[in-house]
């Protein structure tokens, strides 16, 4: 009884945590005057939003952020899939080393990665382009997608594919009808990871984009120096909303992926 009660409390608490940033930023953004110790703002206004949306750069930033994050997640998934399948399914001697390699991008300071890539991209003409920024974002996203998909494939049972094979399916049919369907929740979670990481990337975008690629984190950073809390909050709200929507849309796969991790026990 008390166990069930505490479960509900926990559930409520967690959904609350997820909603908190949205509510906070919204309240901040619409508040004209709000001084301690008042619980709600003394005056409300919609002007920061009007200002924000009338700025051409806002929509440009939103568009570029979305394009880069979407492209980086899809590319990341496409590259990780075969790598993760090998890492997860096959036992080979270098696997320990492969696990170590996951940590490399976490170790090298992003600044160094950014500067190094920038020199290279300048030479091949990718610096300052959306493509260059997208490719640069793969550095931090790949470890997470490979890691997530490897753990999916570590639990994957190839016998499903063998069954389909014996029943007459060819490799293409097996891939689309069996493999993809079986790993789909994991794929969604990995893609979500990649999207979120790319979405909040600031440093790499700045270094590779060289000011010519304008994403929301760039706008957010420059507006912080402007210093108007309501504008910052409005922009933050715009920044937080797409990820929250993406998480909400994929929630059921997150749960399935989580459940799959449980099942093994």
């Amino acid at each position: 009884m008390s166990q069930r009660l505490s479960t509900y409390t926990l559930q409520l608490l967690l959904y609350g945590v997820l909603a908190t940033p949205l509510v906070l930023f919204a309240v901040y953004a619409f508040s004209e005057r709000w001084f301690f110790p008042a619980l709600v703002p003394q005056e409300w206004t919609a002007s920061p939003f009007a200002r924000l949306l009338s700025d051409r750069r806002t929509l440009q930033g939103l568009g570029e952020s979305l394009s880069i994050a979407a492209a980086a997640s899809l590319l990341s998934l496409a590259i990780s899939f075969p790598a993760a399948r090998t890492l997860g399914l096959r036992a080979f001697r270098g696997r320990q080393a492969a696990w170590l390699a996951f940590f490399v991008p976490t170790v090298v300071p992003p600044l160094a990665i950014g500067m190094g890539l920038n020199i290279f991209f300048l030479q091949i003409g990718l610096a300052g382009s959306m493509l260059g920024v997208t490719l640069a974002h793969l550095v931090p996203t790949l470890p997470y997608t490979i890691f997530t998909l490897s753990s999916v494939f570590a639990r994957y049972d190839e016998n499903y594919e063998h069954q389909a094979l014996a029943l007459g399916a060819n490799p293409v049919q097996i891939f689309f009808r069996i493999t993809l369907r079986l790993v789909f929740p994991g794929l969604v979670v990995a893609g979500l990871f990649a999207f979120l990481i790319s979405w909040s990337q600031y440093l790499l975008t700045l270094l590779i984009g060289g000011g010519r690629v304008l994403t929301l984190p760039m706008l957010l950073f420059s507006s912080v120096s402007g210093g108007n809390p309501a504008s910052i909050a409005a922009l933050s709200l715009l920044f937080v909303t797409p990820p929250v929507l993406v998480i909400a849309a994929t929630a059921r796969y997150l749960g399935q992926h989580g459940a799959a991790v449980q099942e093994q026990y």
Partner: protein, 347 residues
């Protein structure tokens, strides 16, 4: 109807020095159910993997109706299989699972629907088309897996311990169902198992596997009653072997002389075996008996198993109930009835 010939097959897994299979040959007649019986690690499952094409042999050949299939892609061999786990596709309904093979052949919707219905009737689970695999019991899942495998009228059915995770009652039930359907469709079948009783009750012929080789291959009843070698005999539960010199219908052992059937024994040094349920235990001296001492006695319901120490060997005898229990340490006479002693040919 397809007959299967496995010819001099050899298979080594990467990174292993010893081959799992070596000089392995077996021929299965069309429509026959052959059981491969062997301990874990004897290469039973590898044979099935080689036939389906999931693995490739080092050398040797596999033929269906005298034609090699090694160059046929796995998905065109027509060899379907069933494992211990049903491996139903969890995201498809039962009807979609069963119809999968036909869909891969681009069969029409109506054809598939009719075939699914027919298969569900055959496995005795009509009307479950719309359910998901997760809602079926283990036994039902295996029945559906069987239906899915057989819907395309494949050439060969491979069963890899398909029942070993099921409860005794469900298992007996499915053994009967598989056997009935296999006979009804006349599909050539290879069953891999480590359960002697399952192999005997289901198969037309039974191959005993040991160290990647066929130790014996014959009808279950013949193997059970007269295994050709000591190895094969141990497989079918025989553990009493008497060694000695045969002449004039007598086996002269170090422990004493026993009479054997003269027309079933070859003169010279020989080994005789006897099934534990044919050995009898008596307190008084009888003909064809050796003296011993009761070491252990275990009650098994239908019979009592005595472990009797006779000099330099230990004999297990199964005495059917009801019987008077002989106490531990008691001196007894172990009777080897003449008609049940048989000579091991390949001793």
């Amino acid at each position: 109807m397809t007959d299967v010939s496995i010819l001099d097959l050899r298979k080594t897994y990467p990174g292993q020095a010893q081959p799992v299979l070596d000089h392995f040959s077996l021929s299965v007649h069309a429509g026959e159910l052959v059981a491969l019986l062997g301990p874990s690690g004897s290469g039973k499952s590898t044979i099935l993997k080689l036939i389906t094409g999931i693995e490739t042999p080092d050398s040797g050949d596999i033929q269906f109706n005298r034609k090699t299939i090694l160059n046929t892609p796995p998905n065109q061999r027509g060899a379907v299989f069933m494992f211990q786990k049903a491996y139903l596709f969890p995201f498809l309904s039962i009807a979609e699972n069963i119809g999968f093979g036909l869909k891969m052949q681009n069969a029409s919707k109506a054809t598939i629907q009719a075939a699914v219905k027919r298969m569900l009737d055959l496995i005795g689970l009509p009307g479950i088309e719309k359910r998901k695999p997760a809602h079926l019991s283990g036994g039902e899942q295996q029945r559906v897996a069987l239906a899915r495998a057989l819907v395309t009228q494949p050439r060969l059915l491979l069963l890899d311990e398909p029942l070993s995770s099921l409860d005794t009652a469900v298992r007996a039930n499915l053994q009967e169902a598989i056997r009935r359907i296999q006979r009804e469709l006349g599909i050539t079948t290879i069953l891999v198992t480590h359960d002697l009783s399952e192999a005997m009750s289901m198969s037309d012929r039974m191959a005993l596997l040991l160290d990647g080789q066929v130790a014996a291959f014959d009808q279950p009843m013949r193997l059970f009653q007269h295994p050709p070698s000591e190895q094969a005999a141990r497989f079918v539960g025989i553990n009493t072997f008497l060694r000695g010199e045969v002449s004039d219908g007598c086996l002269r052992t170090d422990l004493g002389t026993l009479e054997v059937c003269p027309n079933r024994s070859k003169p010279g040094p020989g080994v005789f075996a006897i099934r534990p349920e044919h050995i009898r235990i008596e307190s008084n001296q009888r003909p064809n008996a050796l003296p011993g001492i009761i070491k252990d006695c275990t009650y098994h319901g239908e019979y009592v198993e005595y472990q009797v120490e006779i000099p330099e060997m230990s004999v297990r005898a199964r005495v059917p109930m009801p019987t008077e229990m002989v106490p531990h340490g008691a001196p007894v006479h172990v009777i080897f009835p003449q008609e049940h002693l048989f000579q091991i040919k390949n001793a």
